[in-house]
């Protein structure tokens, strides 16, 4: 009796499972395309709050282009690049996808991206002059264009007004210099309760990112990171070393910056919780810092060295070279660079729209953030990072050397020298593979 009911139970469970599996199969196929419509896939990463807005924009696009259907593949930032590479390896990458400068050279060199320059030349409705020139330059390589600009970002100094007022330090002015910067950082670094540990730091000097942390100091001192033709690394040259010394002294000599572990885990968050007087952050951090409580903050441009310099980075949308619907993909690419899309971008405040007229409009420049204007001002002289193939490897090589200095285990001269050596090796490999027939 017991045996029979147990067998019946298992039979029913099995049947139920098969039914479940069948159901799941059904939902897979329910994605139908309208008759006659071309379906293209568009992939980007982003936060959940951007999903709805993106879908609405795409719906508008589909209304004006009834013969194109777009499947939006919203991806998690966590695995975006691994997934894209896997898809490229399988030959099934999306028709249009979001791309950054760091990977564009690598993918382009391996024939994964469609050269958009011929498309731009043939299409009169699109003028590249309408965009900030750097956003186009990032994706330009000799006569090829690998992506249409989407947005851009630069780095400036966010400062905690409340700390400045408390320590009676004057606010940064638009023309402040390295010296001013150092004085203010020192004045704001304080051990409030006398327990031997610094409670408020003047500035967070990180070493991970060329863009956000160490790159622009070198430019401001008239130094260079890589040579124009990308064959040599110039970090060991005197202007670069001098700049790096000034920067590393913040940690090693003046002790205005938190230590390595704290900085890498909590960096930006320290500003948010009011423990940093100043922090160099990208224009994308405005959204996060809006959550700050208990203090007022504002934005100042990067201090001036021998000259003014700032980085600019941007994202673009690219077309897969093996796409089967290139014409439809091109229409979508144009849309993503057009005014309606750029305006939505401006309103969300995550980045600066690449389209100049939208960036300069009140849609982006709102009054609640003091100093937001400086981002756009910096764009007048900002320069893109030295993107090249194996950019990640290069950044990593420098990071390693800088870390040794931050930990007090190396002096900056030898670190710069060793970094330049390591990067030269990478650049040499790049040259070799450029010469090899593919």
């Amino acid at each position: 009796m017991r045996e029979a009911s147990r067998t019946t139970l298992s039979v029913y469970t099995l049947a139920g499972l098969i039914f479940l599996a069948f159901l799941s199969g059904c939902t897979e196929q329910s994605r139908e395309s309208r008759t006659g419509a071309t379906t293209i896939r568009y992939s980007r990463w982003g936060l959940p709050e951007e999903i709805q807005a993106e879908r609405e924009l795409i719906a508008e696009f589909e209304k004006t282009h009834p013969d194109i259907k777009v499947v939006v593949e919203f991806a998690s930032w966590a695995e975006y690049w691994n997934k894209l590479q896997a898809q490229m390896a399988a030959g099934t990458a999306p028709d249009v996808f979001l791309l950054n400068g760091g990977y564009s050279n690598d993918y382009a060199a391996r024939g994964q991206l469609e050269n958009l320059q011929p498309w731009v030349d043939a299409d009169t409705s699109l003028t590249l002059d309408a965009y900030y020139p750097q956003t186009v330059a990032i994706f330009r390589d000799k006569n090829s264009l690998w992506a249409l600009p989407r947005d851009c970002n630069t780095v400036a100094i966010y400062y905690n007004k409340t700390i400045f007022e408390k320590r009676k330090v004057p606010f940064p002015t638009p023309d402040w210099t390295w010296q001013d910067f150092l004085e203010k950082a020192k004045a704001c670094t304080v051990d409030e309760n006398g327990d031997g540990r610094t409670d408020i730091f003047g500035f967070n000097a990180g070493y991970d990112s060329m863009e956000v942390h160490w790159g622009y100091w070198i430019w401001q001192n008239n130094g260079e990171i890589l040579s124009r033709d990308r064959t040599r690394c110039l970090l060991a040259e005197p202007p670069a070393v001098e700049a790096l010394r000034f920067y590393s002294d913040l940690v090693v000599k003046h002790k205005v910056s938190p230590d390595v572990a704290q900085s890498s885990t909590f960096g930006s968050n320290m500003f948010l919780t009011g423990r940093l007087a100043m922090s160099a952050e990208g224009s994308w951090m405005i959204r996060t810092f809006r959550e700050a409580q208990g203090f007022k903050w504002a934005i100042a441009p990067l201090p001036k060295g021998k000259r003014k310099a700032a980085p600019v980075n941007g994202l673009g949308n690219a077309m897969y070279s093996k796409s089967k619907n290139k014409k439809a993909a091109w229409q979508l690419l144009k849309f993503l660079a057009s005014k309606p899309y750029q305006e939505k971008l401006a309103k969300s405040g995550t980045s600066i729209p690449a389209l100049r007229e939208v960036a300069e409009s009140p849609l982006y420049l709102d009054d609640t953030v003091e100093g937001k204007r400086y981002f756009l001002d910096q764009l007048a002289y900002a320069q893109p990072l030295d993107f090249t193939r194996n950019f990640n490897k290069i950044e990593e090589a420098v990071r390693l050397e800088l870390e040794a200095v931050w930990l007090g285990r190396k002096d900056i001269e030898s670190a710069a020298r060793d970094a330049a050596q390591a990067v030269d090796k990478i650049l040499a490999e790049n040259q070799k593979s450029n010469e090899k027939p593919q």
Binding site: W81, N82, Q85, A86, M88, A89, D106, Y107, R110, G111, Q112, R197, D259, V260, A261, Q262, S264, T265, N390, N392, K393, E396, R399, L400, E403, A404, L407, R409, Q438
Partner: protein
């Protein structure tokens, strides 16, 4: 083949052996055979994931032999294995013995001990980074207090900032995170030891310790074998813990492990062929260690 295999029993076991193993064998062929052979074969190619692979013979191996970072990663990984596996296994067994009791509420304790295994890695990384913080961390605070009791003034240890202490710190966190997992496995094994064996031993006059040594350990030896082998295999392939606590093997590559190094080559440097070379070297290493275990098991595992 023994004479047995031609007997009716032999035929029965053969037929059922193949039948019962059919799904597994099929799965191996479909989902494992292809990818694994590919992965091992790619060790002799140069591949950037995007363009077709290029055969380069032993070039990758030559590079591997001269690659300082590879050897450093190997040393780090060995250090990790030696530091984490014996400690982890013994502590897990200890924990299992403690919770193998019919106390009210023991189920709750077991669940609590299991939470590190399932707690979000982001939460674990953040909290442990704070524990190890040089200035405000819990660990240094405790050490300082203990020092005060004994009359010593102890300098704060840099833990994650010092290449000498970073890996031990990660090992400790790792062992902590994995304890619950092996604890449960040991618990299941302990539960399967027949009661009669303990009763017989007690009648023979054996105390608790001798019962443990002569009844418990031999009875759970097959599972112990499993735990040791899988822990070793897992430890050699450690990746997640480094990824969350010490991104990029900081500081100064002291926490760079083989699989992390492999990952960088596979996905960040677009150097999949070389990554597979590292993978194959690792595979051979793990295979050798496991092979030794399999040979040694005859000496101590009761099957």
């Amino acid at each position: 083949m023994s004479v047995r295999s031609y007997s009716p029993l032999g035929r029965l076991e053969r037929k059922w052996g193949w039948l019962l193993c059919a799904p597994f064998a099929l799965g191996l062929v479909l989902f494992s055979l292809g990818p694994i052979t590919t992965a091992l074969g790619l060790a002799f190619y140069q591949w950037d994931n995007l363009t077709p692979p290029r055969f380069v013979g032993l070039a990758n191996w030559h590079q591997l032999f001269h690659d300082e970072l590879f050897w450093k990663a190997l040393r780090n990984t060995l250090f990790y294995v030696v530091g984490s596996v014996p400690t982890g296994v013994i502590l897990a067994l200890g924990l299992a013995l403690i919770v193998n009791a019919r106390l009210p509420g023991i189920g709750l304790f077991r669940t609590v001990y299991f939470t590190p295994v399932v707690t979000s890695t982001v939460a674990v990384a953040l909290v442990w980074t704070w524990v190890y913080d040089s200035n405000y961390g819990l660990l240094n605070y405790v050490i300082e207090q203990i020092g005060k009791l004994v009359g010593l003034k102890i300098k704060p240890i840099a833990w994650l900032n010092d290449p000498r202490t970073a890996m031990p710190a990660i090992i400790a966190m790792s062992v902590w995170k994995g304890l619950g997992y092996n604890m449960i496995i040991f618990l299941a094994a302990l539960q399967n030891v027949p009661r009669e064996l303990y009763e017989a031993a007690a009648i023979d006059g054996a105390n608790r310790f001798r019962q443990f040594w002569h009844v418990t350990l031999p009875s759970i030896s097959p599972v112990m074998f499993f735990v040791v082998v899988t822990s070793l295999i897992g430890a050699f392939q450690v990746f997640d813990q480094v990824y969350i606590m010490a991104r990029d093997g900081r500081p100064a590559n002291s926490t760079l492990t083989l699989v992390y190094y492999l990952y960088n080559h596979a996905f960040r440097y677009l150097n999949m062929g070389y990554a597979c070379t590292i993978g194959m070297a690792l595979f051979v290493l793990i295979g050798a260690v496991t092979g030794i275990q399999l040979v040694l098991q005859k000496k101590w595992v009761h099957a």
